[in-house]
Amino acid sequence: MARSSYKVTTRTGASQIAALVAAVLLVAAIALPTFASRSLIQDMFFILTMLTLAQFWNLLAGYGGLVSVGQQAFVGFGAYMLFGGAILWGVDPVAGLLLAGVAALVLAVPTAFFAFRLHGAYFAIGTWVVAEVVRLSVAQWKAVGGGTGTSLPRDARDLMWGVQWIESAFEVRSSEARDILTYWLALALTVATIGGVYWFLRTKRGLALAALRDNVEAARSVGVDSERMKWIVFLVAAFGTGIAGALIFLQNGRISPDSAFSVIDWTAFVIFIVVIGGIGTIEGPIVGVLVFFALQTLLADYGSWYLMILGALGIAVMLFSPGGLWGIISDRTGLRLFPIQRRLERRDGLQQKEVEEERP
């Protein structure tokens, strides 16, 4: 047997086109503030931050098998650290984002220590309880308003790094300049998240993650460090979720424990996005967030009907198409924009068939 008679590929035709399209889209997205209306920029901010949260939840649940119902703990804690930093210590909010990520990371350590003792449904409920504990504790933090909540000081917002530059460069008011800045930050965060997740899944650690999801016992017996993988995924997700949370509330300007730790806003909606789009794929949350946004725009005026429809849609997807919308699309077309499967192929290409599917 010639040693080099096989090669390994992950790329597909579609993925190369997708990469090209993504590059074009990215350039357009960066340039967006030069021509788009402010409301479009805000909508994009919403989409991007929800997408980031969804990607991280998907990393946890879809890839890591860690179904957390407590991600609002990191959203809220991150956001509160940004506010606390700005109000109490005068940290610039942009730097505060990093502080938020680190704080969420630090919170994730005891959380993981506790939650990793639990499995499956226990884990889900355990994370939820931890989030409640964090919410109730933060509600005791009187310096940032306790249960009342607080606003970001106007100075901190208006003098934020980059705002003045944008004000003069785009000739806009400071509130608009803030929107542009937070939009760019969200864009950077989203690109880093998707890129990072994709890169991670293509490393041997990503492969191990998939193996663990399928069979923990067996994965451990071939040398996969399951504990470490879980820690990595959980901490990374907490870090990213914390930054995203801080960014959301930086743009929002106001915070309260109920809004920052809302299980509906930061976990339920995120779960719906991932599920409706398709769990366990990078494409799924992207599709999901677009559907979610469309629904919200169309139905927001119908009050509780909007939420009822969202709930019903989530149920319907789970009942009739557990792979989500992207699952339907990729099943029909075989399309994969972010391929991760390694395929073994013959180098000479002649006996391609032999490596292809073969039924006994």
Binding site: Y6, K204, R342, V355
Partner: protein, 240 residues
């Protein structure tokens, strides 16, 4: 030959049930040891203790001259203990090839590029190359058993533990499998093999261990063991 594995007085209980009862034995490097014994004798449990999937209540397990009694499974794997499961445990959504990649990269701590060719070679050897890109969950039983073997081999084990991989195979399949195992053994890998299909087992192993109610009731030359009165009564059920 130095012992690659040695168990000293190892015990394990589930509640009131003692499944492994003060087990002591050595396996010299390069040997092929067979384990037989009635159902529930504690054979698979013994494997779980060696690999670390279960932790011993009592006693000491040494591997390669080191005490590994408290070492977690994945580190034992890294130091060269590979295993197959009695009930195949594939990674359902990974392809066969990816399964071997996981095993080779993590089991040896090597980067992906370096092990790709080796994985392909193992797939050829275990006759799985034809299904390399199929998700493991779609394999037939025979293919799953082969995958168990292939996955264990991909970690390049020095000590290979095989749990009933011939169970449920036809004669022809069985012969092919025995050939493969012989070849692996010939490369110097130490093998411990649990099997009820005796003719397959005895055609490979050099030494046989009999387990009953968690106790070793015989260890030694296969022919002698098979001929012994105890084994004939307890295991084969031949009345004398």
């Amino acid at each position: 030959m130095p012992a690659i594995l040695s168990l000293k007085d190892v015990s394990k209980s589930f509640g009131a049930l003692t499944v492994t009862d003060s087990v002591t034995f050595d396996v010299p490097e390069g040997q092929a040891l067979g384990i037989i014994g009635p159902n529930g004798a504690g054979k698979s449990t013994l494997f779980n203790l060696i690999t670390g999937n279960l932790s011993a209540d009592k006693g000491r397990i040494e591997y390669d001259g080191r005490d590994v009694t408290k070492v977690p499974p994945m580190q034992r794997c890294l130091s060269g203990i590979g295993r197959s499961f009695q009930i195949p445990q594939p990674f359902d959504r990974l392809t066969v090839f990816e399964t071997l990649l996981v095993s080779a990269t993590h089991g040896r701590g090597a980067p992906e590029r370096e092990v790709e060719d080796d994985c392909a070679a193992i797939l050829e050897r275990t006759e799985l190359i034809g299904v390399a890109n199929r998700p493991s969950g779609t394999l037939t039983l025979l293919q799953r058993k082969r995958l168990e073997l292939a996955r264990a081999m991909a970690t390049r084990p020095k000590l290979l533990l095989l749990d009933e991989i011939a169970g449920g195979l036809t004669e022809g399949e069985c012969i092919a499998l025995v050939e493969t195992i012989r070849a692996i053994h010939a490369e110097g890998v130490t093998i411990i093999w649990i099997e009820h299909v005796l003719h397959a087992l005895t055609s490979v192993v050099e030494r046989l261990l009999v387990l009953d109610f968690g106790k070793i009731i015989g260890i030694g030359d296969p022919d002698e063991i098979m001929a012994s009165r105890e084994v004939r009564e307890i295991y084969l059920g031949i009345e004398i």
